[in-house]
Amino acid sequence: MFRQAKWNEPLILEYPDKGFTGLSLDSYSDSTARAVGEIRIPKGVLRDTPPNIPGLPEVEVVRHYTRLSQMSYGVDNGPVPLGSCTMKYNPRIAWWVAFDERIANLHPLQDERTVQGLLEILFELQKWLANITGMDVCTLHPAAGAHGELAGVLTIRRYHEMKGRADLKREIIVPDSAHGTNPASASMAGFVTVTVPTGEDGNIDLEALRAVVGERTAGLMITNPSTLGLFEERIGDIVKLVHEYDALLYYDGANLNGILGYARPGDMGFDIAHLNLHKTFSSPHGGGGPGAGPVCVKDRVVDEDKNIRLSDLLPGYLVVYDEEKGIYRLRHPGPHSVGLIKSFFGNVVPLVWAYVYIASLGPQGLRRVSEHAVLATNYFVKLVEGVRGFEVPYGKGRFRKNEVVLSAKPLAEETGVTAMDVAKGLLDAGFYAPTVYFPLIVKEALQVEFTESEAIENIERYAERLKEISRVAYENPDEAKKWPINTSVKLIDYVKGDHPKTLAPTWRVYVRKQRGELS
């Protein structure tokens, strides 16, 4: 039976100050300090007292964070079938390489000739990602999926500016199943979001799309397979329709794991695509980040006379090979480019991680990834089909790809046990929960994605637990409302956390509120 570790671990700021200074660095600097003498910083900007942080022995710090880690749950602990997140195993060989000091110690502005090894890796990665997506040029600059989206929509904006009709091209179309970052990114690039509905078959409603596509359309952003896990069957028609208005097609690569090696956004006619290396390419999610969101484009001509291509508009740096000198170089963003959306190159650790993953699997392995993942999804669908209280809305009878969305609507209506309660019931059995209440078009949604990493037994156990949850919900819904009880804490009060009176996003705020300094 599952029981999560529980330590009554105080905050580090609640530990008594033992006066230690942690690192021993002094021997290095005694002589320089003597030579320099006084610190001459003007009084008005010199800090009066050191930061209010206790000084602890190293062992206490290690124990503290080790205990915290034990009250945490990742792929290393068990299945994390969060839909849309592609929580696969994060191979340790990639950790070994990506965390290497020969990468950690490189300054982003270092002379290119001193970082040839790394640039070679990044150059090859650019090329591989271009081939994997069927695109021409990839920039490794963006730090996450949403950051890639921003790079993409800013590029779309630049494209229309260069064509002299930025004032007209004001709208970005997204389906109603889209991830929240899509419309949010569109807004950040100054566009208006237009939403199109999804049909019963799980495809975008083509008639509705026809009704909104027009002269004002700057671009369309879609995820394919969609967040319902369904391949957009009429993608050809959609691409044609959107291109008729010289709008660009943006591919949100969050679900690439479902078609890796079987279909490529470039072949489907997309102009711009981002990938989430922290999803499809095994870089770990780190409890929220870092990620890496490379953006790839078809290098279509933007201005024939000036020989400007879409890749010239991309933000960030490109690694190029200088044939003449025989070295790798960085191509800095040029005059037509969006510029920089991050201070320096990109998130290199996840990039190298992805490189190791791709090199290790080879094309054979990458295709196996989607085969396993899709097999896992559809096997799971069969196991849970017919479980009382759950249904699989949209695209009846269609095979899913990387993920499937269940609806607990009947369960909620008949027993009062909601998708969130179901999620807590899964936690209680030692599994992480699926993504809940997303996509928004499914009521009481549970979005499940096993990836290629889960053994058949884990999928079966997960399905068994769902059955068990259903049984409890119908027999004794009150019990289901008490979940979880095996996690390090029981059900949490979210309202209190959010209430302006009790809101405490830092310990400082909490203490100041206690003292009556803040209200």
Partner: protein
């Protein structure tokens, strides 16, 4: 037979054996996995042989032993420098304690997702909350978010936030002596929103923000003012408080840019009157990583008008539903993209949480006094270097005002261009500073050199000796 891509075994994706696959296919009711992809229109469906022909990886799976060797070979092509580079400009060579690397490599943190399910993620959430809380102490600001991508994007989001809070005001003041890379990020983010970035001059004698110019440019149209301290030249701005007071007088918001290591010695932005503080957490135990992952710091004063417009995730303190114990949850999510969509305060989703934990471990390890000490060491080493380098005849006081751990060195009139100096150093496997003449043509042949706790006295002496030799050669002295 079962349609699976043949000839393949790799431990990470060999979770299903042949028997499993048979069972699954049978349950699903298909003969071959390929049938599961049949709804992809044929024109777009990739044939196995076409896929295998593509230049992806090395054309075949590599074994782990092969792979490690290959990567060692590749990384071996990076130049092994004799000392850490004498280079800053927003990213600095600092010591990364093994404790930090160890903690962030623990699978429970490393392989977790954003803590959507709080009850099973309390340790992770406490660690992020501790980052927010420790950073709040360092900054003396009340509210710190769970991280942005980096300093540049944090600053850009701050400018966007300022224009939302001060709706209707179109100008934002940004001094010329802030990091030019950050400025480029701000330009890219703000361009679609019609925000007018107004450049403020710096005083050519001191290197500090020109207070008179701030006064001249601040008006009723100004939404906010930014000051970076130490500024891009490494110079400690002594008038931050004055600038912020001026901003407040005109109803503009005050945004501070900080280098956390320097805050061991410098007054925190909260004390100087900042409404928003941004910065780069890379110096707190992260490694430079050739540009990322880094850690964008984003903090605001406790004011609901500001807090509600913040970008990014926030972990807050709460209790269990029965009120019996302390707990952590994600708070004020209604600002975020997954709920507010196109009206969200930002599109950020994946952030730099693991880097935030690294910074938390680092700050816990050093404690307040250790952070002070670290700042002092940086100060001493850089000032020692300044003395040594001026002894060999270099102009190391381009600006009068005191600096923290980096300063510009002028190579004007020494008889050699900085490019040649750089080549000369590199020939000895020493990496000099950052040439800034392109960003500041008025400074001519000038390079920014940084010194931290990882540079020993011997390193600095080596640099001085080598530079001295190069200068002599430049003057024609053998």
């Amino acid at each position: 037979m079962n349609g699976m891509t043949p000839d393949y075994t790799q431990p990470w994706i060999s979770t299903l054996n042949g028997k499993d696959v048979e069972k699954m296919l049978k349950t699903i009711g298909v003969k071959s996995v390929e049938e599961l992809f049949a709804d992809i229109p044929e024109t777009y469906r990739m044939k196995l042989e076409d896929w295998l022909r593509l230049d992806i990886g090395f054309g075949r799976p590599l074994s782990e032993v092969e792979l490690k060797r290959l990567m060692d070979e590749k990384l071996g092509k990076n130049t092994a420098l004799r000392t850490p580079p004498f280079m800053g400009g927003g990213v600095y060579p600092h010591y990364v304690p093994p404790v930090v690397k160890y903690i962030i490599s623990r699978g429970e943190f490393l392989t977790a997702y954003t803590p959507y399910q709080a009850e099973i993620s309390q340790g992770l959430m406490q660690a992020i909350f501790e980052y927010q809380s420790l950073m709040a102490e360092l900054l003396e600001m009340d509210v710190v978010n769970a991280s942005m991508y980096d300093w540049g994007s944090a600053l850009a989001e701050a400018v966007l936030m300022v224009s939302r809070v001060n709706k209707g005001r179109s100008k934002f003041l940004i001094p010329k002596n802030v990091n030019p890379f950050h400025k480029r990020v701000v330009e890219a983010y703000t361009r679609p929103h019609g925000i007018k970035l107004v450049e403020v001059e710096y005083d050519r004698a001191t290197g500090e923000v020109d207070l008179e110019d701030v006064k001249n440019k601040l008006d009723g149209e100004t939404a906010g003012v930014y000051v970076q301290y130490p500024n891009f030249f490494g110079v400690i701005e002594s008038g931050v408080k004055e600038v912020f007071e001026l901003a407040h007088e005109r109803g503009a918001l005050a945004v501070a840019g900080v280098y956390p290591v320097a805050l061991g010695l410098l007054k925190p932005p909260g004390e100087l009157g900042a409404d928003i503080a941004v910065g780069e957490g890379q110096s707190l135990g992260l490694g430079m990583n050739y540009g990322g992952p880094h850690l964008g710091i984003f903090a605001v004063r406790y004011d609901m008008r500001l807090i509600r417009q913040m970008p990014g995730r926030l972990i807050g303190l709460t209790t269990t539903k029965d009120g019996s114990e302390r707990a952590f949850s994600m708070v004020l999510q209604t600002r975020e993209q997954h709920i507010r969509r196109e009206k969200a305060t930002s599109n950020i989703c994946t952030n730099e949480a693991l880097m935030a934990i690294a910074a938390a471990v680092f700050m816990s390890l050093l404690g307040g006094k250790g952070l002070r000490r670290l700042a002092e060491i940086n100060y001493y080493n850089a000032h020692y270097a300044q003395m040594k380098l001026s002894e060999i005849g270099l102009n190391t006081r381009v600006f009068k005002s005191d600096f923290f751990n980096e300063f510009p060195i002028s190579f004007n009139g020494v008889g050699v261009r900085y490019k040649e100096v750089h080549e000369g150093l590199l020939a000895k496997r020493i990496h000099g500073g950052l040439y800034i003449g392109d960003y500041y043509p008025e400074l001519g042949e000038t390079a920014l050199f940084a010194f931290t706790e990882v540079h020993s006295k011997d390193d600095i002496d080596l640099l001085a000796g080598t530079l001295s030799e190069l200068l002599r050669r430049g003057k024609g002295v053998p």
